[in-house]
Point group: C2
Chain length 233, copies 2
């Protein structure tokens, strides 16, 4: 098998700083985690918040702490440091090689989309962002790592796309269409972002981050690869 | 402009764990850093060491600490925790958007290759691995972020390739050839690893990690992208 992760990310139009933070970390017992947070407000202050949340989760995951415990810790940490005045969404997608599962951790009212074969499900049980209350818990679900499994998570800039002109993006339909066309995870992430940018006429009204993780049956070779592309002005 | 990072990484033959650790972190004042360490010995114990070093550097960089200070801290930390008994190489390649430079930090006897246009230079001033002595300092060099700049760093598995059969890899010549053929950073990283695997008959005698960062003139769009590929058995 082969795991592929595709990420596509853009700032709010005319904003030099994204309020979204995304990091990938290696799990000490095997596998990888992708951590995505969207801090309250936009620009520099949102970046500080989302960065604080992601750093806390990453450092705990790197020490072998379970995803759920790391998310709770990040919530209590933000609550304590900002007196419950500031919130952030938090999503963690983990490839956990100990349990051979994909672990989806949500502190985010927005759904996470899970496809397997022809079946598409939105994980959309009620879920609170971190930082506002003591005792905030994430909603966690686990799936066996099987070929054909594809999971997409995103910040609220994606479903917000088009809303200002009265036709908000149907993320689920777009995801389904991209999978049906046979795209690999990076193609799905790029396609979702491109659809959003189309609706926003290339001037996104919010930061948008999209993460897609897929499990492929085939493994070309035993090489791990990572490719990063960073536009700079 | 556009920054591209390409990484290719493989374990020593028949080893389930790599002693090399590589992580990418966002810099709080703009840009990215890639941190690569190769722990002494191989397998689980080497992984623990390299992971300890990379975690320390990453957490400091994420707090805005300068690369050189982070490398010194990682050396003192490893020295203190392992009584100077264990060493690790450490390389940091940073895209620093504050100074608009590429910062190359070496605690590694192996060179870092820097190409710009037709000029190729090996940064190979004497440099000690971290963890063995108090006061170990990195060797640092900085280059302006200009289109055409390409930097390659790697763990010693790369130049070691072919050594057992009496024809060690000429990394510099291979790098030059791949650049001349017009490859982008991921293609250069893949090409260097492929050349090593050819010399090792696909049974590498050591963990091999290759990182290539390039500055391209053209910027296709304003989307940041990351693509990860993880073979799992």
């Amino acid at each position: 098998m082969e795991i592929q992760i595709g990420v596509a990310k853009i700032n709010k139009y005319a904003s030099s700083e994204s309020g979204d933070t995304l990091e990938v970390v290696e799990r000490p017992n095997g596998g990888l985690s992708v951590v995505l947070a969207d801090g309250q407000r936009s620009g520099k202050s949102a970046k500080l918040i989302s960065n604080m949340v992601v750093r806390k989760v990453i450092s705990l995951l790197a020490e072998g702490v379970r995803d759920g415990a790391a998310a709770r810790a990040a919530s209590d940490y933000l609550y304590t440091h900002r007196n419950g005045q500031v919130q952030s969404t938090l999503n963690v997608l983990s490839i956990d090689m100990e349990s051979r599962t994909m672990v989806v951790t949500r502190n985010n009212p927005n759904p996470v989309l899970v496809a397997h074969g022809n079946e598409l499900k939105a994980l959309e049980g009620e879920s609170q962002p971190v930082g506002l209350r003591r005792g905030t818990r994430p909603v966690i679900s686990q799936r066996d790592l099987q070929p054909g499994l594809t999971v997409a998570t995103f910040t609220d800039g994606l479903p917000f796309a088009g809303e200002r002109s009265g036709a908000a993006m149907d993320v689920r339909a777009e995801f389904e269409k991209l999978l049906a066309a046979g795209h690999q995870p990076q193609g799905v992430a790029d396609g979702l972002l491109a659809a959003a940018l189309g609706l926003e006429k290339n001037r996104p009204g919010d930061d948008i981050s999209v993460v897609v993780i897929g499990v492929l049956a085939e493994q070309a070779d035993e090489v791990r690869r990572m490719w990063v592309r960073l536009p700079v002005s």
